[in-house]
């Protein structure tokens, strides 16, 4: 995208409390020019409060907010030039599509012919050409969503704020809208802050993801980094499925790291460039279900573990198989296809291999 000289948005040690509840704590964050940044977190983590503070609907208890180089901490919403898409769209029911989209331009006193062109262009961007004179009530949920988007992008905001805009759509439409949102972002180049609690949306759409919990940032990273290298246990278990193994004591042995787990289980991984893992230290191991594999017969495999099948969850393209691995606790495997259901029936003893080279290893 554009140069990184000046950030589009800067939050500097922003805090917000409601009565006794602290919704956001000393949070600092920089949004780069033209990027699509996602705020991801469980409900109540402070992401919506953060969004409302950016739009100016909430005033921070402490800290400052800078948008486009201007400190807007005390600036009212109508002088901030942010474009917000609300979860319930909040379209004006007493106006038609054109007047909804033109509202922001009217407030900016744009000339009539120029306005008609800008509105037409925005409607084209969201693929709603020809619906300008429709009443809001005559539109489907997906169409209303597009009007809300058009209304927000037509004012060319400094930052586009999306508050869980896809959560009200049904599943199929949501997937299609994700692709369209991404395309729209590429075409407009608008700096976008997307708020969601849906990790799939976040992974699929974002340039970078901010994972929040209890009013604090847990990690800021690209989707790939976030999935592969979560910074802590919260992020590891919040993003995707993951198996948490019991605490292990580690030591180095040649080119390997050896993990000793209570119950006499020893697992090995290749030594990696991670300074936090030192000899004798207690570590936490997190393994994705796709890094656990079934071992057929006595074929040699790293980190073989015996376990008993307790459940199969068929998902179409793959099956989630739950096993009881004794001292390692209950684990979940992701096995391609559905053959495993017949090959390893519930109650049968199987052997699995744990690929620790791709595991997340966090110091205790």
């Amino acid at each position: 995208m554009k140069g990184e000289a000046s950030p589009a948005v800067e939050l500097i040690k922003v805090s917000k409390s409601f009565d006794a509840v602290q919704a956001v704590r000393e949070l600092s964050l920089t949004i780069r020019q033209g990027e699509l940044l996602t705020l991801l977190g469980p409900s109540g983590c402070g992401k919506t409060t953060l969004l409302n503070m950016l739009a100016g609907f909430e005033v921070p208890s402490a800290g400052s907010i800078v948008i486009g180089g201007r400190d807007v901490t005390a600036v009212p919403p109508y002088r901030r030039n942010t474009g917000m898409v609300f979860q319930n769209y909040a379209l004006f029911p007493h106006m038609n599509v054109f007047d909804n989209v033109a509202f922001g331009l009217r407030m900016r006193k744009m000339a009539k012919f120029e306005m008609a062109r800008a509105v037409g262009h925005a409607l084209e961007m969201v693929k709603l050409e020809g619906l300008a004179s429709r009443r809001i009530r005559q539109l489907s949920g997906g169409q209303q969503q597009r009007v809300a988007l058009a209304r927000a992008i037509v004012i060319e905001p400094k930052v586009l704020l999306l508050d869980e805009p896809l959560s009200a759509l049904d599943r199929n439409l949501r997937g299609a809208m994700q692709v369209e949102l991404r395309e729209l972002h590429e075409r407009t180049g608008l700096t976008t802050l997307f708020v969601t609690h849906d990790q799939e949306e976040a992974l699929g759409l974002s340039d970078r993801i901010v994972v929040m919990s209890r009013g604090e940032i847990q990690q800021v990273a690209t989707p790939l980094e976030l999935y592969r290298l979560p910074a802590n246990g919260f992020v590891a278990s919040f993003i995707g499925e993951i198996n948490r193994l019991p605490p292990a004591r580690c030591r180095t042995e040649g080119n390997d790291v050896v993990f000793e787990i209570a119950g006499g289980i020893v697992l090995r991984a290749r030594k990696r460039n991670q300074p936090t893992i030192g000899a004798g230290q207690e570590t936490h191991l997190f393994v994705r279900p796709e890094h656990l594999t079934l071992v057929e017969g006595d074929r040699p495999a790293p980190n073989r573990v015996s376990c008993r099948v307790t459940a199969h969850l068929y998902q179409g393209a793959y099956t989630l198989t739950r096993v009881d691995a004794g001292p390692l606790g209950n684990l979940q495997l992701r096995v391609l296809g559905g053959e495993v259901i017949a090959a390893a029936p519930i109650g049968s003893q199987i052997k699995i291999s744990i690929d620790l080279d791709k595991a997340v290893i966090l110091a205790g």
Partner: protein
């Protein structure tokens, strides 16, 4: 009554309780129509002074309506009703707004309590209170005199002004409730969206809040207008015979002169005006709604 075009008829469904709900309303309607017919038949009969019995058929009673004295009472009634409805609207909107938008529950309950309590004191009690407040030695004049603002007391009692003041206070609780219901239905996010798009507080109100509460505004105004059209005791007591509204005229004709036929004509006239006002409101509302939508 004020249904706008956006409220479509519900699709036909079996309505199991329809008959049971329909019968009582039918009975009430029949009784009302019967009473109305009884009044109406008087309108076409000859008045014999000094007798309670009405005579044979005549249209004389209707011709009498054209006399300037009666037309001026009708004009007064319309004027007072319209003024009452408008002032009630202007005074009630801020109260309803404050009530619905109050941040603390305590403030909301307090406003609600203060706004609605007058409903539970009788009309006569409230009207007497106004006589005390508006009289020559009443509260308002005492305050003005004490403050040195006036030398002689202002005449407020027995004037149209006094009647309107009392009627407005009388009507406000109902208007506040109607407006509060309309305001509570406005999606706050719509107002936030408008602010986000660059509208300051005044423009948010003008372009979003006001048009979205328009149905409530119109139904409130119509209800108060029609209600005031039939006001009796307030103009009777605060007006003291100097301010005549249709109901007072009906009372004078019917129970002082015992001219039942002409009283019946006046009653029918009042009914016709009220129904006409309600009926003409509907096209007016839809035009207003469309107009508010565009700009």
């Amino acid at each position: 009554m004020i249904a706008s075009a956006r409220w479509r008829a519900a699709p036909a469904r079996p309505r199991p309780f329809f008959l049971w709900l329909f019968l009582p309303s039918l009975a009430a309607a029949l009784l009302f129509v019967a009473a109305l017919c009884e009044v109406a038949q008087y309108a076409f009969r000859v008045f014999t002074p000094g007798s309670l019995e009405a005579g044979g058929f005549t249209l004389e009673n209707f011709a009498r309506l054209a006399r300037p004295i009666y037309l001026s009472v009708l004009a007064d009634t319309l004027l007072i009703s319209l003024a009452t409805a408008l002032f009630t609207l202007l005074l009630s909107y801020p109260v309803a707004y404050a009530m619905v938008r109050a941040k603390s529950d305590f403030v909301r309950s307090l406003i609600m309590l203060l706004a609605v309590t007058p409903l539970f004191t009788g009309e006569i009690v409230r009207t007497y209170a106004w006589i005390l407040v508006l009289g020559s030695n009443g509260f308002v004049n005492s305050v003005l005199k004490a403050a040195g603002l006036v030398n002689a007391p202002l005449t407020m009692l027995y004037t149209r002004f006094g009647v309107i003041v009392a009627l407005v206070q009388f009507s406000m609780p109902v208007m506040i409730i109607i407006l509060a219901a309309a305001l509570a239905h406005v999606d706050r996010n719509c107002e936030r969206a408008a602010a986000n798009l660059g509208a300051g507080p005044a423009k948010v109100f003008r372009h979003v809040t006001l048009p979205l509460t328009l149905p409530g505004i119109v139904s409130g105004t119509v209800v108060i207008f029609a209600w005031t059209m039939s006001a009796f005791s307030t103009p009777q007591l605060v007006g003291g015979g100097k301010v005549l509204m249709i109901s007072n005229l009906v009372y004078l004709q019917g129970l002082s002169s015992f001219n039942f036929p002409f009283a019946a004509v006046l009653s029918l006239l009042a009914l016709a005006v009220a129904i006409g006002a309600l009926g003409s409101m509907r096209p007016f509302v839809s035009r207003l709604e469309r107009k508010a939508a565009v700009n």
